[in-house]
Symmetry: C2
């Protein structure tokens, strides 16, 4: 089996970490100046590794192997959540680069645009599999300030470039490596995770409409306080969901905003971004019904109007059984007894690629399970070992199993 180069791997990760460094982490939102720099950095690294590298019309960085024969495509993403960790996404991309170098041939490498969802949902990987219409690109805007994606692409010098589409005949499959972003491996003392399935998520914006008024002069009896309506519904969700959810379901209200959000004004409007995730479609359907019932009850009770808007969802996606086996065999070789199979609670580009190609994912441990925070980290020995396992599995799959 091919040996990866641990020093080169760690040096590349450290170099990439400097682009948008924030405290001990990285701030590199999609199409920020630092994000664009990181894409050019990768393009140069892939070229240096002998791949035919380019950045396409959605910002995907793709390095193609020039040799004949079946290929695996390895990838992840370069952009980060705000003020987030240095490995999330970057690890899988640099693993791809290192495995391409270690194997010498058979590996294409990709950095998919906007896995972190600053402008949309899995834009890069969806573009690659042919599931991102031009009209959707027209509508996408930066969540922070509303900048159109088209403007961001133009500023990055990518307007008018074609978008690279998958040639399914070229590929045996897709492999992605990632930090676990949870503490399952660490708690079990394991060093490698083999992903069985990626959860599906259902997402909603819940809007509460009341009447804005003065917080001193408006009697409680006549108020239509949209903030109170939000608190009441969120509380009902937190009471009911544990009774209806599965053992691994998670649910989160990550964003709440009152309008106008002033201390002495009764809010006339409020909104909450709410999501839940599970690998079981039946559980997701049951939670949909529960949420709709709670919203209906809130509207029945009044006094504010509650609406479920902007629903979005991804379906749960199983990883290929043969790819899981290949990853497990490689893990057992390097970390005997210190690996496990587990579902991914986070979404990943692999769930998109899996629609068109056999796909597999490998996890390395996250220290303390911390993720989407600049304190996120993984031990260097886990980073190095994970890459070696990844390289072995890729070599085995290219060799026919």
């Amino acid at each position: 089996m091919p040996d990866i180069n641990p020093d080169r791997l760690l040096a590349d990760l450290q170099e990439l970490r400097q682009i948008g460094a924030y405290k001990t982490g990285v701030h590199r939102p999609t199409f920020s100046a630092d994000d664009i720099r990181s894409r050019h950095w990768l393009e140069a690294k892939l070229t240096e590794a002998g791949l035919d590298a380019s950045i396409d019309g959605i910002g995907n960085v793709i390095g193609r192997c020039r040799a004949p024969g079946g290929k695996l495509i390895l990838g992840s993403h370069l952009e980060t959540q705000p003020h987030a960790g240095w490995l999330d996404g970057a690890l899988g991309v640099v693993y791809g680069l290192e495995v391409a170098r270690a194997l010498g041939q058979g590996i294409d490498v990709a950095a998919w645009t906007d896995e972190e969802g600053h402008y949309g949902s899995f834009l890069g990987s969806r573009s690659f599999i042919g599931a991102l219409p031009e009209a959707e690109i027209d509508r996408c805007r930066f969540r922070e300030d509303g900048t159109p994606l088209r403007d961001a692409l133009a500023r990055a010098g990518l307007a008018g470039r074609s978008r690279v589409q998958i040639d399914p005949a070229r590929y045996l499959g897709y492999l992605e490596a990632h930090i676990e972003q949870g503490a399952t491996l660490e708690d079990a003392g394991h060093r490698i995770g083999i992903v069985t399935a990626i959860v599906g998520s259902h997402r909603f914006k819940i809007v509460f409409e009341g009447v804005q008024n003065h917080a001193g002069t408006t009697r409680m009896a006549v108020r239509k306080d949209a903030g109170v309506a939000l608190v009441r519904l969120a509380n009902a969700i937190y009471d009911r969901f544990p009774m209806v959810a599965g053992p691994r379901t998670v649910w989160t209200a990550g964003h709440i905003a009152l309008d106008p959000s002033a201390p002495s004004i009764v809010p006339g409007r409020a909104e909450m971004l709410f999501q839940f995730r599970d690998t079981d479609p039946a559980v997701l359907a049951r939670l949909d019904q529960e949420l709709e019932a709670l919203v209906a009850a809130a509207n029945r009770d009044g006094p504010c109007r509650v609406t479920l808007t902007e629903p979005g969802q991804s379906v749960p996606r199983a990883m290929d059984a043969g790819f899981q086996d290949a990853l497990e065999r490689a893990a057992e070789r390097h970390a005997p007894g210190l690996h496990q199979r587990l579902p991914s609670g986070a979404g990943h580009d692999a769930q998109i690629l899996a629609e068109r190609l056999p796909s597999g994912m490998l996890f390395v441990p996250s220290i303390g399970g911390i993720s989407h925070h600049y304190a996120e980290d993984t031990k260097p020995e886990d980073i190095v070992q994970g890459c070696q396992v990844f390289a072995d599995a890729a070599a085995a799959l290219l060799a026919g199993g």
Copy 2:
């Protein structure tokens, strides 16, 4: 009794309304360019009315009567809440101007700075009664963007100007007119309100500290979600306060923020601005205890840490009995049977002036009770009649009761 000039009164209000016009209301935050323009507009109007007018070192516009003899000081404020109504504050200031003109002498007029609390708490009226230390001015910042008050004063050309202080011997008392900002008068079919007392308010920033993490990979059992802690405490407040409050108590969480407030991140920190108001100090004390007990219970139950920070309060303040009688007699003359006494649920500069001078307040009806919103309005006939009542009461008080 002196006749006011209805056309002049309404024309002045309409002129002032143009400064910072927003839809049907006004956007004139403290020391915005439009707010500063409005202060110069008033200074010119007061000068034109024969008063000795100036803008002092905190931005108060004060017009002083040049004639000898006891004086009343009449005032309110010029700045507005964001995108708020055209009469809130402006009405009382222009009433002062009109009454000064109608009576010819005995009236000083003031526009107090920042009653709306963009930089601090009652800065102008507290400065006037000698209750605003220089060190507090050093610390005050614009709530929206953190601009130091000192910078705003310098930009307005007021840095280094002295601050006018009250000469209690000069005054018989203070009178303020204001829109009701509630619907008590309208619901009763009344046209004049005589304020009995101004509520006291207790204000808190409640901070929730948990652990930020990934919303897909962090199991529910190990989460420390600061947003959930906020919802749980707010819900408990909304359950308990009705049992402990008085019949006219009001309580409001006008501002809620999660950190980092992203859809797929478990919030590690959250905060809520919470306040309650009542005219009865015993009720306020009881609610303090209740809130502290709920916070203690939240900390006992975990998993997040909850802290009551930045407490602020104003004490309930009764209006002078003689001033109430004078306002009531004038109201009965012009609107027989169509007036009532009522407490003020909103804070007003009169509660500050009342610490040093006998004080009284008159309310005119707010259409639909709407306030702090650009839709706020009062019928022209109510505006005119309110000013005549105000003028009669001022004349009677100057004449000795």
